[in-house]
């Protein structure tokens, strides 16, 4: 079985500082994979390198058969990776509809685009109520829904999420995770960076733990959630 995403020896630097020192990981078609780790461990850097926002110093990233190294961020997006960045990064001065339309930027047929937007709005009924509002006026949770929805309009093969529950009230965060489960059940593969390790491991099939730019652990979600060291470091409590 070939991996949907195959990262080999990925190295990224900021100026003189090594942010990622040779990361290997794989995501199989249909999986949900969680990346865990402290702030600054390299999770976001990994996601940004995958989606082409950061130059790769060494290593390869394969998306199916395609080597992403030669592609720019927009081309990677068009290949079918939707990256929902940290902090949502919705286009605050545009309406919800416009944001969703931009999510389907690569879709040329107007009817197809409308169908996709409808489909996304079905997943997020809240967004339908706010369709003509400017994204900047939405609450944090609604913005997160919009950010994910914007990614979904592209009908990605791989959905990459960076801290989807960040700054959300627990109830809303739970809703988001519910939606992710739903999206996954419709066949989308997901890579997830999440501070709320409880929720992330509850959702994921497998998990990687990053520390100082390296993969420290790699196991099934269930095993990780049971591991006392992981619990101590990332799941809180004494």
């Amino acid at each position: 079985m070939s991996a949907l995403l195959d990262v080999r020896g990925l190295e990224v630097r900021y100026g003189g500082i090594v942010a990622l020192r040779g990361i290997d990981f794989r995501v199989e078609e249909g999986e949900i994979v969680a990346l865990l780790g402290a702030n600054g461990a390299g999770k976001t850097t990994t996601l940004r390198a995958i989606s082409g926002l950061l130059p790769i110093r060494a290593g390869e990233i394969f998306f199916g058969e395609t080597n992403l190294r030669k592609h720019t961020a927009d081309a990677i997006a068009r290949l079918g990776i939707a990256h929902v960045p940290e902090g949502r990064r919705v286009f605050t001065r545009m309406t919800v509809r416009e944001n969703l339309e931009l999510g389907g930027y690569a879709v040329s047929s107007r009817r197809d685009l409308e169908a996709r937007i409808d489909e996304t709005l079905a997943i997020f009924p809240r967004l339908r109520e706010r369709i003509a509002q400017r994204a900047g006026t939405l609450s944090g949770g609604e913005q997160q829904m919009l950010a994910i929805g914007r990614g979904l309009v592209a009908r990605p093969r791989l959905l990459v999420l960076d801290e989807p529950s960040l700054g959300l009230a627990p109830l809303i965060a739970a809703q988001i995770f519910e939606v992710l489960r739903d999206i996954h059940s419709r066949g989308t593969t997901i890579v997830l960076v999440e501070q709320n390790a409880h929720a992330a491991l509850a959702l994921a099939d497998r998990g990687y733990v990053l520390r100082n730019g390296e993969i420290a652990r790699n196991d099934t979600a269930a095993n990780l959630a049971r591991d006392p060291a992981v619990v101590a470091a990332y799941l809180g409590g004494e």
């Binding site: 100026g15 003189g16 500082i17 402290a38 702030n39 600054g40 461990a41 609450s139 944090g140 960040l166 700054g167 959300l168 009230a169 627990p170 501070q195 409880h198 520390r211 100082n212 959630a225 101590a232 470091a233 799941l235 809180g236 409590g237 004494e238």
Partner: protein, 253 residues
């Protein structure tokens, strides 16, 4: 005796109430923690304390002085220093220079001194530099003095920011998620550092997500949710508090 008193403080952004009717007393010499979910209004509260935002209702006083209408730099003069959730160092300047900026209020050289490099300017500069090096040692990053702040590792930057805040010899130190992104051993060092800071006489108010650190360090903790204070007490009280578990800590797995 209370160093910091908040009474019925509210802050609204348009329709959103970010801080709602918060009352808080922080004793002189305490280490006081504020926790709560992201977006609960913790950072907004800090921003009200340093006049980045103006509060809409209530009153805030520091050492008995009301800060209503004061500017950020006036509040700094009252002895308030802070760090930021997303580090705000002077990236293109040496670590030493960063700390020396922190000493701004301790120095008296005026424009003329600065223009002409007078004896006072030189004396103060030498003194400031000495103190700055000392502080870098105090926070545990001696030896990085000449490095540019932006080139330092994340943990070092966190400490450098604390050193800069300490340089003003604050009575009240506000730390916004100081442990964010630190590994467990760095967190242990941080814990010791914050205690050492308190032992110099400063009062510490911190926002933190890391429960281990907060529970170990703080004498009292306030919990915010949706801008409201839902609980306040000792660490053990907070740990047991049903609303806190519901809103923030979550049911134990």
């Amino acid at each position: 005796m209370s160093l910091l008193e908040l009474a019925g403080v509210s802050k609204r952004f348009g329709a959103l109430t970010a801080v709602s009717n918060v009352t808080l007393d922080v004793e002189e010499g305490a280490i006081f923690g504020i926790i709560g979910p992201n977006g609960a209004g913790k950072s907004t509260l800090f921003n009200l304390l340093t006049a980045i935002y103006r509060f809409d209702e209530g009153s805030i006083s520091i050492g008995g002085t009301s800060i209503a209408g004061l500017t950020t730099q006036r509040i700094a003069r009252l002895g308030v220093a802070r760090t930021f959730q997303n580090l705000r160092l002077f990236g293109n300047a040496s670590a030493l220079a960063n700390v020396m900026v922190g000493e701004h209020l301790l120095l008296h050289a005026n424009i003329i001194d600065s223009l002409l490099d007078t004896a006072r300017e030189r004396r103060e500069r030498a003194e400031a530099e000495r103190r700055a090096r000392e502080l870098l040692r105090f926070v545990g990053i001696a030896g990085v003095d000449e490095h540019f702040a932006r080139n330092l590792s994340y943990g070092t930057q966190r400490r450098l920011e604390i050193a800069r805040a300490l340089a003003a010899r604050p009575r009240l130190l506000l730390l916004d998620e100081p442990a964010a992104g630190l590994n467990p051993s760095e967190k242990q060092d941080l814990l010791a550092l914050i205690r050492a800071i308190r032992d110099t006489g400063a009062t510490v108010l911190l926002i933190e997500h890391d429960m281990g650190l907060v529970m170990n360090l703080c004498e009292r903790i306030a919990v915010l949710d949706y801008g409201e204070k839902i609980a306040e007490g000792t660490p053990s009280e907070i740990r047991e508090h049903p609303r806190v578990i519901e809103a923030y800590l979550g049911a134990p797995t």
